[in-house]
Structures are given as C-alpha cells and as structure tokens.
C-alpha cells in the first residue's frame, strides 16, 4: 500500500467513524427524549388495573366529570368553529388595516397564563364584571355556572382553531375562487361550495385540536367557573380534586384524557394529509 492509498484509507475510516458517532448520538438523543415523554404516561397506565379502571368509571365523580367535559368541550368547539371560520377566512383572504392586530389579539390566549385568563374572564363576566354586572342585574349569573366553563374553554381554545383554519385557507390556491367568480359565483356560494370542501380536512384538524384543548382546560375554568361537581367540575378539575382522596378515580380520568389525546393526534395527522388538491 503506497502513502496515497494509506491516506485515502485513513480518510475513509474517519468518515465511517464520524457517521457511526453521529448515528449513535442521534439515537441516544431520540431515545432519551422518548423516555422522558413516555415514562410518566406509562407510569400512569401501569398504576391502575383494568378492573379498577372499569370500577372507577361508575364513580359518580368520574362519570359526572366525563359527561360534563365531553358536553362542554363539544359545545365550545361548535362555538369556536362558527366564530372562528369566517374570521380565519377573512384574515387569510382580505387585507384590511388592523388585520395583524386582530390576529395578535386572537393569539393572545395562547400565551396568556390560564390563571390570568380565568381572572380576566371573572373581571369581565363575573357578578361585578364590566359585562357580567348587566347580566346579573337582569337575573343572569354567568360566573360559576356551566356557561362559564364553556366561555373559559372557548377563550383558551379559539386560537388553536383560528390559526389552523387560517393556515388552511392560505394554503388553498386563490385560482379556485377566481375560477368560481369567473363562472358567476358570488362570495358566499364560492365559500360554501368550493372553499370549505377543499379545506375541510384542515378545519376538522383545527376543530379537533380545539376540542382537545377545551377538554384539558384547567386554570381558567377553576378561576372563573369554580369546581362544583356535575356543574363546573370538568375532568382536569376532577383529577385535581380526587387526587387528594381517591387516586383510582384520578388515574382513571387521566387515562381517559391520555386516550383522547392519542386519538386526537392520530386524527389530526391523518386529516392534515387528506385535503384534495391538484
């Protein structure tokens, strides 16, 4: 072997070592990250037997929380979709002064600490709140009711939907709307017949994300709606409450939320791949 061949061989060995180290390093990093995320979830799942899980499901606290959470999160998601879809479309398609400001305000609950959101909602809709006082004078109390749970959920989960919906509308080529207009279609028929079906998957994904966020809402709900079983005690609140006495109920609720989270993630990933385009 001459000196040139020797140098080439050394260089090749170095490259192989670097590739092995890089692969090993990446593997270790990913494994550590997965362990960090999966261990607490597995710890929770292994902490309860299937029998105890089933038995806890009939516990009134668990059942009430489950029914209330699913009901309120469903209503909140419907409200979010109805309010958020036109706003997302307008912000995606039309340029108006203050659009960025509107976007920022809609995003605000994303970064606002939930406790602050709860207190803010109380100041707005509580008995002495700037809006709530008028309702209270008319005999309508909002705070510490199921309606308050829904308002808190809409407040914190709205940006999840609007962001996803706006991104979906922006990704849709404007040529479809232009073609519809050139064929004689006005704005609303174009929106319902052409635009909505083409971004349907993105909107469903956004709605599911919002539903999941609403289901997991804790801070704003406990501040604004309280923690009353059957009325305002949603699953996260029930987990917090039962953890101090009946750990099985607490774990059962947590496992249900984990299952829902998994299902949500799968559906979102599946849906986001499915919008029909050329």
């Amino acid at each position: 072997m001459n000196s040139v061949e020797g140098l080439v061989e050394v260089k090749r060995l170095r490259q192989s070592c670097r590739a092995i180290l890089l692969t090993f390093g990446t593997g270790v990093l990913i494994t550590l990250l997965l362990i960090f995320i999966v261990t607490p979830i597995l710890a929770l799942l292994f902490r309860i037997s299937p029998d105890r899980f089933c038995a806890s499901l009939s516990d009134p606290v668990v059942w009430d929380a489950l029914v209330l959470s699913l009901t309120t999160a469903t209503i909140s998601t419907c409200v979010i979709v109805l309010l958020g879809t036109p706003v997302a479309w307008i912000n995606a398609r039309y340029c108006y002064s203050g659009r960025e400001f509107v976007d920022t305000i809609i995003d605000l609950p994303l970064v606002l600490p939930p406790a602050v959101a709860g207190l803010a909602l109380l100041m707005a809709f509580g008995r002495m709140g700037i809006i709530g006082r008028y309702f209270y004078e008319s005999g309508i109390s909002i705070a510490f009711t199921t309606l308050a749970v829904i308002i808190a959920q809409v407040f914190v989960a709205l940006p999840f939907y609007v962001r996803q919906a706006r991104a979906s509308f922006e990704q849709l080529d404007t040529m479809y709307e232009q073609a519809a207009r050139s064929l004689g279609s006005t704005t609303l028929p174009t929106f319902f017949i052409i635009v909505l079906p083409l971004v349907k998957s993105g909107l469903i994904a956004g709605a599911i994300m919002s539903f999941a966020r609403a289901l997991g809402e804790f801070g704003a709900t406990i501040m604004f709606a309280g923690n009353i079983q059957g009325r305002t005690q949603t699953m996260p609140l029930a987990i917090y409450t039962t953890m101090q006495g009946d750990l099985n109920a607490s774990i059962t609720l947590s496992v249900i939320l984990i299952i829902i989270s998994f299902v949500v993630l799968f559906i979102v990933k599946f849906k986001l791949r499915r919008d029909v385009r050329f």
Partner: protein, 230 residues
C-alpha cells in the same frame, strides 16, 4: 404594480382568436385578469363592445361574476372535489337555470370537447389533456360574451400540446365566441391565432394575421418567430 399604463384596444370577431404575445411583464396576463374583473385596476376604463365594465371616473365596476366572461386558467383551476359534470354545471347552477336545461347544456359542452364519457369522473382523477378539455367545456357552457385563455396548453406535455392546439382552435370556431389567448409559445400563436397582437409596455404595438406578423421586422417578433422562419 407596473410602472406603465395599460392602453389596449382591439376587436375580436365571433369564433375568432386573438393571441397576445410579448415579453414577460408586457401586461398580457394582466390584461386578461383586468378584463375578467379578477384584478382591480387602479383607475381607468374598460369596455366590452359598447358595454362599460369598469370606469373609475364614474364609479362603475361590474364584478367578475357579472361580466359574462369565460376564463380558462393556465392550470385549469378545476374544482378537484367535484365531478366533471358538476364542474361544467357550476356556472349554470349559479345562473339559476332549470335543471333539465343545465343537463342539456352540460351534455352539449361535453360533446363539443368529446368528453361525454368523463361526466361522472372526479376532476382530480383526470389526465392533463382531459383537464384542459373540461376547463374549456366549463368556460364555454355559460355561453360567455368573451373567452379568455391564459397559456392554454403550457401545462401539457409536448405531444398533448400539439393535439390540443388544433382541437382548441376548432372548438372555439364551432362555439362562435370571440377569444383572447395569451401565450409565450410561437407554436400556440401560429396554431391558435387568427390574429396575433404584440404587447409592449401595456400597448398593442403590432396586430395582424400570423402571416403578416411573420414578415414583420419588429425586434421581438424576429426573436419570437426565429424558430419557424428557418
């Protein structure tokens, strides 16, 4: 926006095609989008025959959906979630035409382009050439006062382009609708155009039959047609 005004005046007879050519940025596609109402002008006046469809000084702006102008987009813009029949019927449904008449007109349009057998196929399952035909059938079904074609065959492969050019020309003649097409291809210009207009900085600086323009000494035309002059 462009730093020159668009000042174009031209006449196109029924069943005739005027092909607009010119350098990039000469205003060809802008002209189509301004005519169709899909792009708002800053100011000025647009007339379609005797009909004023835009006049900034009088506050007239007929919206795109009321201009009665068919538009075939460069990438066709078929509605992928609808069938071929529904794509072609779309403009007729918006005009509140009775269902029986819609069926007849859609079938006529599909027959004109020889795509009757595709009526139940979803638009996202069509080949490039089929999309082209459906896009044209859809634009013709509304019996527009004017038909606009933006780079009509550029999205097709070379073999399909050749076939489509002759079909397009025959179809436009049969439909008896005036047509304006924009292209970068001298083959499109020669095959489709009854007349060719050369655009330069928003104006039509040359306008004539393909034969007339082939003999022109205009610098752009010299470069544009150099392939076929040889």
């Amino acid at each position: 926006m462009r730093d020159f005004p668009l000042e174009a005046e031209f006449a196109v007879d029924r069943g005739e095609t005027l092909v607009l050519i010119g350098e990039n940025g000469a205003g060809k596609s802008s002209l189509l989008f301004l005519l169709s109402g899909l792009m708002p002008p800053e100011s000025g006046r647009i007339m379609l025959g005797e009909r004023v469809i835009y006049d900034s000084s009088k506050g007239i702006n007929v919206p795109a959906e009321e201009r009665d102008i068919g538009f075939v987009f460069q990438h066709y813009a078929l509605f992928p979630h609808l069938t071929v029949f529904e794509n072609v019927a779309f403009g007729l449904r918006r005009r509140k035409i009775p269902p029986s008449e819609i069926r007849t007109r859609v079938e006529d349009s599909l027959a004109l382009l020889s795509i009757e057998s595709l009526d139940a196929v979803r638009a996202d399952r069509l080949s490039g050439g089929q999309r082209q035909r459906v896009a044209l059938a859809r634009a013709l079904a509304i019996a527009p006062a004017l038909l606009l074609l933006d780079e009509p065959v550029s999205a097709l492969d070379a073999g399909a382009q050749e076939r489509m050019r002759s079909e397009l020309r025959a179809c436009i003649r049969r439909s008896d609708i005036p047509c304006i097409a924009v292209t970068h291809s001298f083959r499109d210009a020669l095959s489709l155009g009854d007349r060719i207009g050369v655009m330069e900085n928003g104006r039509i600086v040359q306008n004539g039959t393909p034969d007339e323009l082939m003999r022109s000494d205009h610098e752009f035309l010299h470069r544009f047609f150099c392939g076929c002059r040889q």
